[in-house]
Symmetry: C2
Subunit: 205 residues, 2 copies
């Protein structure tokens, strides 16, 4: 019955699929009646924690530390905190891991090639960044330091969202951070067919 | 067994005793084995949430909203959040009350006269503020809007810390936000004397 808190930290380039996956995981946990889950994504963070911060390394680090501080407050009080932020610098991500504790920190690296992202470019940001209209754009004109040992590594250039989602949920279940769903009740399609055939042979159908 | 979260919000001038009282309440709750309590006081907030903010009305409001955002995240997940911040503007305190919900927001106004604070002046700030060396100093050169209907109103010019502390704990118990201590077991001194006398009369002592 008692829930253990942890932080699920999505990192990766803009447009890689962090928020899409974070939303899917959040919805799944809510559907499973996990009561204490909080999402700290781009909009929430920009409005409530990071107003006034820019895109210098220092400001980005402050932003990531701040989100980490809140994730820690939540995780250590049995809440699951789901954060998605580009969080381009490895050192400050690792600071958060140290603060929150390795037993409660799950880093999900959402990889995607720049080619994929430029093709996708839902918000038209890559086009502008490549044209030099946006400065300090991670992956184009600003560095991204990929995690060396993320707990989960998904790749939206080569996997479907469902596959990435399954990998994340599977990891959390395998590690005992969330409870696996009870085995599906009932029969598989093949079993059902066999049962039907059997009942028919006996004259019940 | 299950704990209800709420926010205990201390407001008042610098030096009025907010942090002293917040610390006392925090320690008391820890002693009573209330497991989920978090303190958001000056230092914690300045380091982790408010770096870069100044003392303009806008920056002060941003700071108070930000603390409120975190208190809300905690309170709605069954954590007791204890915040102490000058929080001079009524409107933004009331915004936090609306966000967190009146059923979970307990405003404690820690009053003290300017005379008391200037005499006390532990950090020497009032002297500097009165000499014009610190600009935008609440209560001297910057406004403080006292709460109109705080849940608890204490006054460190006229009460001891113990009295203020008792008023706060008493309020929280009376409202059912924390459990009252079980009645002291055993006898009072007078009762004990009576029992001893009785036993002695019977020849047992």
């Amino acid at each position: 019955m008692s829930q253990k808190g942890f932080t699920l930290w999505f990192t990766g380039l803009s447009g890689a699929g962090k928020t899409t996956l974070a939303d899917r995981v959040y919805d799944e946990l809510k559907e499973r009646r996990v009561l204490k889950v909080e999402k700290l994504d781009g909009d929430v963070v920009r409005t409530n924690l990071s107003k006034g911060l820019g895109f210098s390394k220092e400001d980005r680090d402050t932003n990531i530390r701040r989100i980490g501080f809140v994730c820690d407050l939540l995780s250590r009080n049995d809440v699951i905190a789901i954060a998605s932020a580009i969080s381009p610098y490895r050192a400050v991500r690792d600071e958060n891991r140290a603060l929150i504790g390795s037993d409660r920190f799950v880093e999900v690296y959402v990889e995607a090639t720049l080619d994929t992202l430029v093709q996708r470019d839902v918000k038209g940001l890559y086009k502008k960044a490549l044209a030099g209209e946006i400065k300090e754009f991670t992956g184009v004109s600003d560095p991204y330091e990929a995690p060396l040992h993320p707990e989960v590594h998904v790749n939206s250039s080569t996997e479907t969202i469902d596959e990435s989602f399954d990998a994340i949920i599977g990891y959390l279940e395998a590690r005992g951070l969330i409870e696996p769903l009870p085995e599906q009740a009932g029969y598989s399609a093949a079993e059902e067919q066999a049962v039907s055939a059997h009942l028919e042979a006996l004259g019940y159908l």
